[in-house]
């Protein structure tokens, strides 16, 4: 029986044809993907975060606290490294937390206030830290999951809430 079609061609010819088709079509697909997708390389994005207040009497609005986050939205691209300088600027002895919704965790270094100088503590892969009046912290994490995630103060809900927006 004589070979037909596929079988007629020599191995070298078949391999060459397959290689040419594969490389050419791969280049077309690759160039198209590169053209269509506007990719931005991950960068470190730095934010300064403070506690703030809205000027209303806390006893007037169902007992809701008047504390807020400033800013209340942080927007990054997926894959970015995020560095947040969080400062408790309270003028009275009030503590705030920085807590993140899962799956996010972060590393943080907490620095002292006027009465307690230097580094107070260092934490890794935590979802919550507490800052006393006058303390500040550097918070770092990688925005590995796209979506909208809360960051909030456990003590002052529901008003002291911000949103991390990760564009995927």
């Amino acid at each position: 029986m004589t070979p037909s079609g596929f079988g007629k061609l020599s191995s070298a010819k078949l391999l060459t044809a397959a290689a040419l088709i594969a490389v050419f079509s791969g280049a077309v697909v690759g160039l198209s993907v590169g053209y269509v997708v506007h990719y931005s390389a991950p960068v470190t994005r730095t934010f300064y975060l403070f506690d703030g207040t809205v000027p209303f009497n806390e006893t007037m609005f169902y007992g809701h606290p008047h504390d807020t986050f400033v800013p209340d939205t942080i927007t990054v691209n997926k894959g970015d490294h995020v560095l947040i300088h969080y400062v408790n600027i309270e003028d009275k002895g009030e503590a705030h937390t920085y807590t993140m919704d899962p799956p996010y965790t972060f590393d943080a270094t907490i620095y002292g206030n006027a009465t307690q100088q230097g580094i107070v503590s260092t934490v890794t892969t935590k979802d919550r830290i507490i800052l006393a009046q006058g303390q500040n912290a550097t918070i770092t994490f990688t925005a590995s999951w796209a979506g909208v995630f809360r960051y909030y103060c456990d003590f002052h809900q529901p008003t002291m809430t911000g949103y991390l927006v990760v564009i995927g």
């Binding site: 290689a19 791969g26 280049a27 697909v29 690759g30 160039l31 590169g34 990719y39 390389a41």
Partner: protein, 114 residues
């Protein structure tokens, strides 16, 4: 010649697992595609191991490997992505895999037992 086939299976599995690892660990640029590529490699490993339609499957794996190489190279040139140690390792294994498939295909078509 069986050695060539089983070497190919090991290389296919290694590339498939590496693609899964890459998709899982690298966030930010269409990581789901790496899962798909890895899945196809693992499926191909099963086909090559079972020696199903060897001439066709070996040639297809060879072409698939070169196709992905070409996609990676052009995307990397255009966007600067996929230029890291894991991707380099993955592409190095794929290059060896392509050579392995050439040898396997030539031998199997020459009628040698593979």
């Amino acid at each position: 010649m069986k050695l060539l086939r089983w070497t190919g299976v090991v290389l296919l599995l290694a590339t498939g697992i590496l693609d899964f690892y890459y998709g899982n660990s690298f966030a930010g640029f269409y990581e789901n595609l790496w899962y798909v590529m890895g899945g196809i490699y693992i499926f191909a490993a099963i086909v090559i191991a079972a020696n199903i339609e060897p001439h066709f499957s070996q040639l297809t794996v060879f072409a698939y490997t070169l196709f992905l190489w070409s996609v990676w190279a052009t995307v990397a040139l255009e966007t600067g992505t996929g230029l890291d140690a894991v991707a380099y390792a993955d592409k190095a294994i794929e290059a060896i895999l392509a050579v392995n498939m050439v040898l396997l295909f030539r031998n199997s078509r020459a009628g040698l037992i593979v």
